[in-house]
């Protein structure tokens, strides 16, 4: 064990001060230390640290369908989250109230027909002054009330695919294409309860909270093998984060709405890739040793991220044309610390 004995403290302190101004070492003085160099690889983008994200839908893009009446039994005919086409049967609503509703629709239709006939007949009489203005207002009010009542019921009936009086049920279809999202209730569906919603497929996005400092350069997110570009970044901060939305999630990514996950952000910034072995710590900085002629000079860099073998670094200097020491860096650091000899 040789534990505790090493460089003199004073030498160490002196070295630290001297290196703060970038130290140079003559390569010839490195003896038999094996040296090899790497050329930093300039890249236009890099992957950052994992960020928490969620597969979400764009706010306001959800299309809701509500029950017209109290429903005794709701049987969904597709699976939760299934992509459906417009007009596709989606749910069977069953119960006595369904029959009542159909009767109500029929009654509303009849009432509307009656009010319409009466309205058309009295329109010329009113123009001739045969009937008073008060009488015409009463006829008109009656007509429009029945019209609105009928239209309201008719709109729902437009998505009713079929009715079955024998079973007091009807089948509801989808008003539009998209991902179906049931509103599963443990109790009965009362009149006006939200039955299901449809999410347009292009509304399913990756929602990711990005640190403000990196938000501007965020260009895409990577999830496993799936690369999804960023569509929009909020201009309003939530604490130190801003919310970014990706473009629609491609089907082949196999991501499900509501899924929480971590994503690897990809930042659009010109950086360099360096072998991990070429970086050493000095005081509170990360440094590399650049080769100029027969001299190695220390240079401070900023590590932004890493891959298993390389660091992603930023530097004030253009590193793409210089060579960086990639072997025996720790031994050279030892020299800077004053180590060496018996």
């Amino acid at each position: 064990m040789m534990v505790k004995y090493g460089v003199g403290l004073s030498y160490l302190i002196a070295s630290i001060f001297s290196l703060a101004q970038a130290e140079s070492i003559d390569i010839k003085s490195l003896g038999n230390i094996q040296l090899s160099y790497a050329q930093p690889q300039k890249v236009a983008s890099y992957e950052g640290s994992a960020l928490p994200a969620q597969i979400s839908m764009l706010p306001g893009s959800e299309y809701w369908v509500s029950t017209p009446e109290n429903i005794q039994q709701v049987s969904f005919l597709v699976t939760q989250g299934q992509m459906v086409s417009k007009g596709q049967a989606i749910v069977r609503l069953t119960g006595p109230e369904v029959f009542h509703y159909l009767a109500q629709v029929e009654a509303a239709s009849n009432l509307y027909q009656l009010a319409n006939t009466r309205y058309e007949r009295n329109k010329s009489l009113f123009k001739n002054g045969s009937i008073s203005a008060d009488k015409w207002r009463e006829i008109s009010q009656d007509y429009f009330a029945s019209y609105l009542e009928y239209e309201h019921m008719h709109h729902f009936m437009e998505i009713v695919l079929s009715t079955d009086a024998a079973t007091d049920s009807f089948i509801v279809s989808t008003p539009m294409a998209g991902m179906v999202k049931f509103n599963l209730l443990s109790g009965p569906y009362m009149t006006g309860s939200q039955l299901f919603s449809l999410v347009p497929s292009d509304s399913v996005r990756v929602k990711v909270n990005v640190p403000m400092s990196q938000s501007l350069s965020l260009s895409a997110v990577n999830i496993n093998q799936c690369h999804i570009a960023i569509d929009s970044i909020s201009a309003i901060a939530d604490g130190a984060f801003v919310t970014a939305w990706s473009l629609p999630v491609p089907k082949e990514c196999n991501l499900l709405l509501g899924q929480q996950l971590t994503v690897i952000p990809e930042y659009q910034k010109s950086v360099y890739m360096l072998p991990k072995n070429s970086v050493f710590s000095w005081d509170q900085d990360s440094q590399i040793l650049t080769k100029t002629g027969e001299t190695l000079t220390s240079l401070t860099i900023d590590i932004l991220g890493s891959t298993p073998e390389q660091y992603i670094v930023a530097s004030d200097q253009d590193l793409s044309k210089i060579e960086v020491l990639a072997e025996s860096v720790a031994a050279v650091k030892g020299i800077l610390l004053g180590l060496g000899g018996e």
Partner: protein, 1017 residues
């Protein structure tokens, strides 16, 4: 009583011979049964506590672990010194007890104290009392080679197949596994999934622990039977671990697989092993304290042969350190010396006695005394080693003295041709010299008794020497009065009484020279005294050191790199150096390097430290004449690797140095105080002074400062809002960086730790650390930077403590001058130039400390020994003046010792001091032989001068015989070159030089002084 013994022996000759034969056989048996080792057990009663606290900084460990333990331990009685070293993730506490303390009692005391404070330790602390070993316990090291097996598989094989089998070998305390990858089931949690599932980190950990459990529930009685019922849930493999249910509610079941990525991984690595530039896995066998090392190694080898048959195809156990080699070489060196000494002594006896039969009788005492010594060593549990056998070699020349005196007297008596039966003459001859023989032996034993009072390393080393000499001398004494007369009765005849012509001629030359000297008495005295003064002047030019470095045969190269180096970078440099050394130094057979800490923690090195074991080819194949030249060649390679500190040592030397002072170097200057920064400054100032002091080389200071830490401080306002505590935050971070072992999976005899840890490559920069995702206790996701502030802090790399006080240390070797003078000069400089704040002090240790202790011990005990010798001499001669006359020979003996040390270039060391002690006895013995004869012949000569001259001539042969047998008995040690020879060499040089001068003074000065003394009457 002595007369009765001699009479009984000569009347019961057959019985005596049978007993002697029986003792011989028992001695042979003892030789084969006594423990064999290279060195005596030099360790004090020492208990080591190794505690591992992964992820904790030295200051945290010191405050929470080291200090509480030290406080408890300080109350244990019989303790000598308490030391500790606290580093990142490890606390190494050593408690030395006073000599004679029972090791089992000591360990029990320490264990009890640790148990008392264990509850107060932070979570995750492991370890305890280290195996019962000594610094000499690392007896066998090997690597496991198999190109078809991964490093993890090799380590698994070592850990679960080889280690358990080797631990069954009697005498093996433990098997340390180093290098490779310790397999684990690694759980890398997915923060997003955990957050979505509403599972916190703590809940995840708890669920894994609680579900990996089997427990007996009790017994169920069914009719007349009782069946045991147990609750079973233990995980058997990684697939079961993946399927472990972490949370289940009405609608959802969350399995571990849903929340984390589970892979086969490895524990955080604190060290690695490389062999010839490639990573490998190593086993290091530690022997129990007091084990018979030679036998243990033999048993280990047998076991390894058995194990090898069961290993996967292509596996090879590659031994690179085998203590048996050192034992065999050291014992071989000393055995050769012993054999050569015996041969030389027998030849001398034959020459002096001029008769083969007489020489044979005297020579018989050598093997018989040696075998009886082995018998006693066996009886008193003394191991055969370099030192104890060295004692026997030292004694060889003196062993024959008793027999020489007895046989010489027999020969002389037989030569008188008295008409008495030969048996009767032998009885009379033996009886006449019995008392001087016993007195002489007693003097020798008293002379060596101071060695028994030595303490510390010198005591451990030289007590066996003294004990063996005492055993041998006692044996020789008994033999000279029993077996030797019996054998003489069979072998010595009248022919033996005839003196050889060479001796007669020598006597004539001596007589004429003595007569000439008597003419120029005063001139001779002046010359003798002048030489004495000159020699004492030479003493100041003789270098002083504690102990010569023992050549163990092997070389360890210690490398030290940048303190913050990563394991991979550290290994990369090691590999470069290994490959270059192998290419450029063909004397190196293979290189095995150990970087960082070992598994048990007995050697808690940092990642920047490497011990490189160099296994060498046989010396006969070297390009170099000696090891020093080889080291120079290696040094020449290493200087081409700037940025790496290096140092040469040897396996045992390294451990002994650490054991003795905790510091390596001739002088260790310890600065005690509390504040790390102040200690750093003071150490730095003192280091400058050491550097400017003449003779300082290899100056090193403990680097207590210089470590950088990244502090993550929880933002309380922010974090508490989410229910996050600092402890939970720290635990989470630990799982991300270090990994947290939460449980184990048992698969047969294999135990695989289950580790919560992030992917190592995912966290390799500050940026990534700050952006690491946390699952907050409220299950929301945050980044580290959202809840904690990052800052940098400087802190100590290590904290060393002694007797509960912090200290830093500067070590230096001293070259070209004596250590004591160096320390005195340095101490004066420190006193004058360094302003020590209140509460700070400086202490000197290292080998200097040992040397001082040894000197003080000897200065106290040697005068007592001299007083005892004086008492014996006074009792023998009845005159204090004559006793003084004999003692006057001592300074002249010292003179020879000093001159021979100076001429040989050897330093004054503990072995040399022992040589001077031995000289005391031999010098006195010669004087006794001479003066006793003068006293016996007082009434035989009318003229004083004639009595002195004739007496001196008559005593020439025994004096020359005892002196030359002692000198030539030691000669093989002077020329021995094998490992172990260097420790006995200074001793032999001193004794030979001293004997040379003391023999001259006995033959010439003593007669003159006796003449003056008698004439005055």
């Amino acid at each position: 009583m002595l007369t009765s013994v001699i009479r009984f022996s000569l009347t019961q000759r057959l019985f005596v011979l049978i007993v002697a034969l029986f003792l011989m056989l028992a001695g042979v048996r003892s030789w084969y049964s006594i423990p064999l080792d290279a060195f005596p057990d030099i360790s004090p009663t020492q208990v080591k506590i190794i505690l591992k606290a992964p992820g904790m900084t030295p200051e945290e460990i010191e405050a929470q672990i080291t200090v509480p333990i030290e406080t408890e331990l300080l109350g244990i009685p019989n303790q000598a010194i308490l030391r500790s070293t606290t580093k990142y993730a490890i606390s190494d506490i050593t408690l030395d007890f006073v000599e004679g303390t029972d090791i089992y009692w000591a360990r029990q005391q320490v264990s009890e104290r640790i148990s008392a404070v264990w509850g107060s330790f932070p979570e995750g602390v492991t370890g305890g009392v280290a195996p019962m070993s000594t610094p000499l316990s690392e007896i066998f090291m090997f690597t496991l080679e198999n190109p078809n097996l991964s490093l993890m598989e090799r380590r698994q094989l070592l850990e679960w197949e080889i280690r358990p089998l080797l631990r069954t070998v009697v005498g093996v305390a433990d098997v340390n596994i180093l290098g490779g990858y310790a397999k684990s089931f690694s759980i890398n949690p997915n923060p997003a999934a955990m957050s979505a599932a509403g599972i916190s980190f703590a809940a995840l950990q708890q669920a894994i622990v609680e579900n990996n459990h089997n427990e007996g529930a009790g017994k169920l009685t069914i009719g007349t039977d009782t069946i045991i019922v147990r609750a079973e849930g233990r995980i058997d493999d990684i697939d079961e671990l993946r399927q472990l249910v972490i949370k289940a509610d009405d609608a959802k079941v969350y399995r571990l697989n849903d929340l984390a990525d589970i892979q086969i991984g490895h524990l955080a690595r604190y060290g690695a092993v490389t062999k010839d530039g490639h990573e490998t896995a190593e086993g290091l066998i530690i022997a129990l304290k007091d084990a018979n090392t030679d036998q243990v190694v033999k048993n280990i080898k047998q076991k390894i042969e058995q194990i090898s048959l069961t290993l996967p195809k292509g596996s090879q156990i590659n031994t690179f350190y085998d203590r048996a080699n050192l034992i065999n070489t050291a014992i071989g060196t000393i055995s050769n010396a012993l054999f050569e000494a015996v041969v030389l002594v027998i030849v001398l006896l034959a020459l002096f006695l001029g008769n083969v039969r007489a020489a044979l009788v005297v020579s018989l005492s050598l093997p018989l005394a040696a075998l009886m010594t082995f018998l006693m060593m066996d009886f008193f549990n003394l191991s055969a080693n370099l030192m104890s056998l060295g004692g026997l070699v030292i004694a060889i020349g003196m062993l024959v003295d008793s027999s020489v005196v007895v046989v010489e007297n027999m020969v002389n008596l037989i030569a008188t041709k008295q008409r008495l039966p030969r048996l009767h003459l032998i009885f009379r001859a033996t009886k006449d010299v019995a008392i001087p023989v016993v007195s002489g032996t007693a003097i020798v034993m008293i002379v060596f008794s101071p060695l028994l009072t030595l303490t510390g390393l010198e005591g451990k080393l030289f007590t066996p020497v003294a004990v063996t000499i005492v055993f041998a001398m006692l044996s020789a004494l008994v033999l000279s009065l029993t077996v030797i007369p019996v054998m003489a009765s069979y072998l010595v005849n009248e022919k033996a009484a005839k003196e050889p012509k060479a001796i007669e001629k020598l006597k004539r030359v001596y007589l004429s020279s003595l007569k000439a000297i008597f003419v120029y008495q005063k001139h001779f005295i002046v010359i003798a005294l002048s030489l004495l003064i000159v020699s004492f002047g030479l003493f100041s030019f003789v270098g002083k050191t504690f102990m010569p470095t023992l050549d163990e045969g092997d070389i360890i190269l210690q490398l030290e790199k940048s303190p913050s180096i990563s394991l991979n970078a550290s290994i990369a440099i090691d590999k470069q150096i290994e490959q270059t050394l192998l290419a450029q130094v063909p004397e190196i057979k293979q290189i095995v390097a150990r970087t960082g800490a070992d598994e048990i923690g007995l050697d808690p090195m940092g990642l920047n430290e490497t011990d490189v074991f160099l296994e060498l080819i046989p010396r006969s194949e070297w390009r170099f004449a000696n090891k020093q030249q080889l080291i120079e060649a290696i040094r020449a390679v290493l200087v081409d690797y700037p940025g790496v500190n290096f140092n040469f040592t040897q396996p045992i030397q390294m451990r002994v140095s650490e054991m003795l002072t905790g510091s390596i170097g001739d002088v260790a200057i310890k600065v005690f105080g509390n504040d790390i920064e102040t200690l750093g400054n003071l150490t730095s100032q003192i280091q400058q002074l050491v550097n400017t002091t003449q003779g300082s080389v290899d100056v090193k200071m403990s680097m207590i400062e210089g470590s950088s830490f990244i502090n993550l401080t929880l933002d309380n306002e922010m974090a508490r809002g989410f229910g996050m505590s600092t402890m939970e935050f720290a635990r989470y971070l630990k799982s991300q960086l270090e990994g947290v072992i939460v449980t184990e999976v048992l698969q047969g005899k294999k135990r695989t730790p289950v580790l919560i840890a992030s992917n190592p490559s995912s966290l390799s920069s500050i940026n990534e650390l700050q952006n690491q995702l946390l699952v907050m206790p409220d299950h929301s996701l945050k980044r580290v930077t959202d809840v904690a502030k990052l800052s940098y802090k400087k802190g100590p790399i290590l904290i060393e403590r002694e007797q509960g006080n912090r200290f830093s240390v500067i070590t230096t070797n001293v070259n070209g001058r004596d250590i004591v003078g160096f320390v005195e000069e340095l101490n004066a400089k420190i006193t004058n130039e360094v302003q020590l704040p209140s509460g700070y002090s400086v202490n000197f240790g290292g080998e200097f400390e040992n040397q001082q202790r040894a000197t003080n011990n000897l200065l106290l005990v040697i005068p007592i020994a001299i007083a005892l010798i004086t008492l014996i001499l006074f009792t023998t001669f009845g005159s204090l003046a004559k006793a003084g006359l004999i003692l006057a020979n001592v300074p002249f003996a010292m003179m020879g010792g000093i001159v021979s040390l100076y001429l040989s270039g050897e330093y004054l060391s503990v072995p040399a001091s022992v040589g001077f002690i031995a000289l005391l006895g031999v010098a006195v013995l010669n004087g006794v032989v001479m003066v006793s004869y003068y006293e016996q012949t007082k009434h035989m000569f009318s003229s004083l001068l004639e009595r002195i001259e004739q007496g001196a001539v008559r005593r020439l042969r025994p004096i020359l015989m005892t002196a030359t047998t002692a000198m030539f008995g030691l000669m093989p040690l002077v020329f021995a070159t094998g490992p172990g020879a260097e420790i006995q060499k200074p001793l032999a040089i001193v004794v030979i030089g001293g004997l040379l001068t003391s023999t001259i003074t006995t033959l010439y000065l003593l007669p003159i002084l006796y003449f003056w003394l008698e004439k005055r009457k």
